[in-house]
Amino acid sequence: MIIIENLKKLYGPEEALNIEELKIETSECFGLVGNNGAGKTTLFRLILDLIRTSSGRVTINGEDVSKTEEWKSFVRSYLDEHMLLSFLSPAEYFETLRKIYGLGEQDLENHLEKFSPLFNGEILGKKKYIRDLSKGNIKKVGIAAAFLGNPSLVLLDEPFENLDPTSQNRLKKIITEERETNGTTFLISSHDLVHVTDICNRIVLLEKGHVLRDLKDEKKVMAEELADYFDR
């Protein structure tokens, strides 16, 4: 699905990211962990062509992300609030996305139905713009938008942050179901090691822009390795 080759991102003389090779397979749930400044968000932004690479390249299904745009039609992401149109109400936002992605009205309805447990009655039908929602609810809007239109790749940056424990569990369920039914590939970064080991079958540990470990073992082994690293 994603192939990363000799990817480097420098900010001035400082190296923010340096990955020689990384392949993310289709329908993998790829977890990304690491302390602050490890380069998680930078990697996401490079994959999405939001920032320029200093050298190397990222390809999605063989397309160089900086050269073409077609990959954008099956890739969804939610990194931060810059990806929303905060002056719309959530309903208007989903309707706008429906048009941009060229979906039917029924598709959108089914989609929102799927997210109604996560929304918990606080997102739709309220007379509020996205900018006036609470942080957690804004996140839910962004996450739900990242699942719209059967994407084959979804990138989520810190999806559990700001969510209440119930919502965190519901989100985990949605991610797992989506993988099982549609074979969707997920890239998820998180500081919550329990959640990441729960849902991901592969976890990469970043440190200062380098891949320190690439774990594909059983959940228990991965959890121990991670605990080991973060307990220093």
Partner: protein, 494 residues
Amino acid sequence: MAPEFTRLFLLEKVRSLSFGRDLVSGILVSVFVVFIFFYLIGFAVFLGLILKNLFEVEDVPAFLNQAAIFYLLAEFLIRFVLQKKPLFDLSRFLHLPVEKSGIINYLLAKSLFSPFSLLVIILFVPVTISDVSPVYGPIYSSLWLATLFFLSIASHYLVLWLKEVINGRFIGTLILFAIITIPFVLLYFNVVNIGDYTAQFFGLSASAPVPLVVSMLFCAFSFKLIHRRYLGSAYLDRMDKNVAFVSGFGKNLFSRFGAAGTYADIELKLILRHKKSRGFLVLALLFLLYGLFMYRMGAGDSLMESSGIYLFVGIFIVSIFLINYGQFFLSWNAPSFDFYMVKNHGIEELIRGKILVLSTVSIFLYLLAMPYVYLGWQILIFHTVALLYNIGIGTHVITGLAMWEPKPMDINKQAMFNYEGIGFAQFLMGIPFFVLPYVIYVPINYLFDPYAALAAVGIFGITGIIYQDKIISYNVRRLKGKRHKVSSTFRQST
């Protein structure tokens, strides 16, 4: 705290991501202001002579006493339209042990450092020395001048206060403008001269310091007024209570235009839901009245004689929104630029959608300005040529310029201390926009006649419309080339 605030303010300016662009426009504005000041000083030095010889005024101080109220009203209007609200992001200090009242004092004191504060000094010091002083004596003439000065400062704070109260509402602005223009209209039609009544007040300066005391009290009062207003709204939650939730308005206005239409619909909501952009719409409607001042009733040929000026009026009426809104072209989308970045052809459709909205508003203004045809059918020609130029060429001039180092703007932050007002700098971008049609108009008008010249400008516009797709594609390619730079600028700032 004042020196520290000033230091922070300067640091913010220097480290701003659009420092280059701000610096260039700042220098250009300063040059312009200095130029105007020299012009005004020249005028002011000869004001006494001009009044005596050209207008045959015998008693200059008495005349000035009558004219003072009109000067102050005019200054008030100019301040209201051109002067920015003081800019300060209070949220960074609210949690610190800094007195709110102190911050606001600083803010209000800083706002006085504006060219407008010098206006009354420049205009009246020479005439006070040459004509008022000989009559009133040096001391009382100083009191007279100080009275004017304090009234000018009072109007400065009053403008800030009224801007808060009116809060960009169309009706409020209209009422204020109407009230202020009434004395001028009454004078023009010889009904009553308000100046006759106020002259007694200013004339008192000749013998007593009463006017000075009154004007100082008024100044203190208006300072207190705005100080209380600012203090009362020094909170993080938005003051903008009058923005009701509007759902669905203009929902599918552009849906017939395909993908670009979807983005145009987003843009329309953006315009209607943010105070600043709505303000520009209101301003565009107000400027529809511009024609009333400029167009004279006249049979065809007399209108054509000054067709050069009327073409300008037409372009101005049709394009005011384009200039105001278009100068921030991408900045409006700064908070959600990544939204467009991750959509298939998102940037391209964003630009097409925005241009669709801009052109639609221009056509809308053109239609609203239709009634001017009663003043002469030639006005239809001016407006039509103006519209063709606007859509075919002007839009691309403004948006092309605006894409140079786009300035991030957080439109969601609506706390009033963060308001970026309608300033003077924006008119700079209008210079090439207004000059370009005359590059064609002037030579052809000289060689042939106004009709041919207007036709040529119209054809210029039509050519642009025909090649619109190519021009937009060029601009899209340009933007895509620097998409990373633009998006990272937008991301860092908000």
